[in-house]
Amino acid sequence: MKVQIDKDRCQGHGRCYDLAPKVFGDDEEGYGQVLGDGSVPPDLAHDAQLAVSNCPESAIDVLEEA
């Protein structure tokens, strides 16, 4: 699985780094960012999927399905 955040849509709700803190982090203004290149190891795929489905702005794009 591979994810990326659409910077134009992200408003810094922070649901992604709440729900999948090993996949996403916050920048100094609280906007979400992927850690590393956005590749999600299989054991974190569930967390990442939760982040995707809970983002109020639908700002996380799934580039490759798990």
Binding site: Q11, H13, G14, D18, G30, S53, C55, P56
Partner: protein, 429 residues
């Protein structure tokens, strides 16, 4: 050696601020209409007791019937009730301005755009982005985490103060104090000023249908308080948000004094009764729902998920916009200066968006609620609010795992755009 000269900051003279304040009062007033609503689809008012007591059946009915209700009260306005419509308005800053976000009987003059009275919540692009950027760093999850130990200790001290009582008012004696304390600490205001904050909040948000002059007189108390705090901070700078805003720059200059006082007013008002309401509504739900309370006591790890569900089902905050120009919006003829009441709580209960929308499902895993708004005005304090709500509930459930409503009929709810319990007698003994 010479002592560095303290630069005089003359932005905050009473004369300058007074002149600006007079300008802001040149807006448009309309006749105040109160009393029972004849038909919620054509005469809605979020200030009537029926709405305060239980707005959800009203919103559910409107969502099926209209789904956008209207009113001639407040000089005219609209109330979308579907998630899709609420989201569309929140995202559309071309057709809707945030110049005033409290639907009242007074529209401030257009000239205050794009800053508005309490930036950045009242600001429109592109100014909004720059004003918001000043506040964001202080409110990141990482930075608010630093306030968690003190918040936790404070919650414990509040429960210590119950001192063996059988019945306590969880809204008055617990929920309200937590955000007051946290925001006073962040702004560097005296911690004992909390009770005054309560008065400011009630004046700003609940006094909406008072005669405009009376409302302005009450609001000016907040202005005077903030100005006194600013002068104190200018004389004694310290490491807090007020000093930060006094020194902050935008476009190469120190901030306009109205941006400083407006932002402080916003933090003080918006930071308090919103979180107070969320904490109170969550405790109210748990007090009347023993199975959810027992489950959260035994499965503490479920609390972050449950908390999001409380935010969805009992989201405290409704915003407002003004229509920028005459237009046909989704089949509705809207006029320039009509209000739009932006009910995130109604959006959060739209069955098109949520399964079992009218039920509180504390283990709801997928919960794309809009309690903190959508789009560029996402609540700047959302990470702070979530920290306070989580800590307040964790401490309460640890210390008081068994509690119930002492008198369901004695519970009162705030009327207006921030809804939550204001009286909440709970039996804890």
């Amino acid at each position: 050696m010479t002592t560095p000269e303290v630069q005089k900051d003359d932005r905050f003279s009473e004369e300058i601020l007074g002149r600006r304040q007079d300008g802001a009062l040149l807006g448009k007033r309309n006749a105040i209409v109160t009393g029972p609503v004849s038909d919620w689809a054509t005469d809605f008012s979020h200030l009537e007791p029926e709405w305060a007591a239980d707005p959800y059946p009203i919103q559910d009915e409107l969502r099926q019937r209209c789904p956008v209700a209207r009113t001639d009260r407040f000089g005219g306005g609209w109330l979308p009730t579907r998630y899709e419509d609420v989201a569309a308005v929140a995202y559309d800053t071309e057709n809707f301005t945030s110049r005033s976000v409290i639907m009242s009987n007074f529209r401030p003059p257009k000239e205050i755009e794009p800053i508005g009275t309490v930036p950045p919540i009242s600001s429109d692009p592109p100014f909004h982005h720059d004003a918001r950027k000043l506040l964001l760093p202080a409110f990141t999850k990482t930075n608010v985490a630093k306030l968690e130990p003190a918040t936790r200790a404070f919650c414990h001290s509040l429960i210590d103060s119950f001192d063996g009582a059988d019945v306590v008012d969880a809204a008055h004696d617990y929920a309200q104090h937590i955000p007051m304390r946290v925001i006073a600490d962040m702004l560097g205001f005296p911690l004992e000023d909390g009770p005054q904050f309560r008065e400011f909040v009630e004046n700003a948000l609940e006094g909406v249908n008072l005669p405009t002059e009376e409302r302005i007189a009450k609001m000016s108390k907040l202005g005077e308080y903030i100005l006194a705090q600013i002068h104190d901070h200018l004389a004694n700078p310290r490491d807090d948000l007020t000093t930060y805003l006094l020194n902050a720059e935008m476009y190469g200059q120190k901030l306009d004094p109205f941006v400083v006082t407006g932002a402080i007013a916003l933090l003080l008002i918006a930071g308090i009764d919103t979180t107070w309401s969320a904490i109170g509504a969550s405790l109210w739900h748990l007090a009347k729902t023993p199975k959810d309370r027992e489950r959260l006591v035994s499965e503490q790890e479920l609390l972050p998920t449950a908390m999001e569900e409380f935010l969805r089902a009992y989201g405290p905050v409704t915003m407002a916009r003004l229509v920028k120009h005459d237009m046909n919006w989704r089949g509705i003829d809207m006029k320039a200066e009509d209000w739009v009441l932006l009910s995130f709580p109604a959006a959060n209960r739209d069955p098109e968006q949520f399964d079992r929308a009218d039920e509180v499902v504390i283990d709801r895993e997928v919960n794309k609620h809009a309690a903190f708004g959508l789009g560029i005005h996402r609540c700047v304090g959302s990470h702070l609010a979530r920290m306070e709500l989580r800590v307040a509930l964790e401490v309460w459930l640890q210390r008081i795992p068994k509690f119930s409503l002492a008198d369901a009929d004695a519970v009162t709810w705030a009327a207006g755009q921030v809804r939550g319990p204001r009286t909440l007698p709970l039996r804890i003994g």
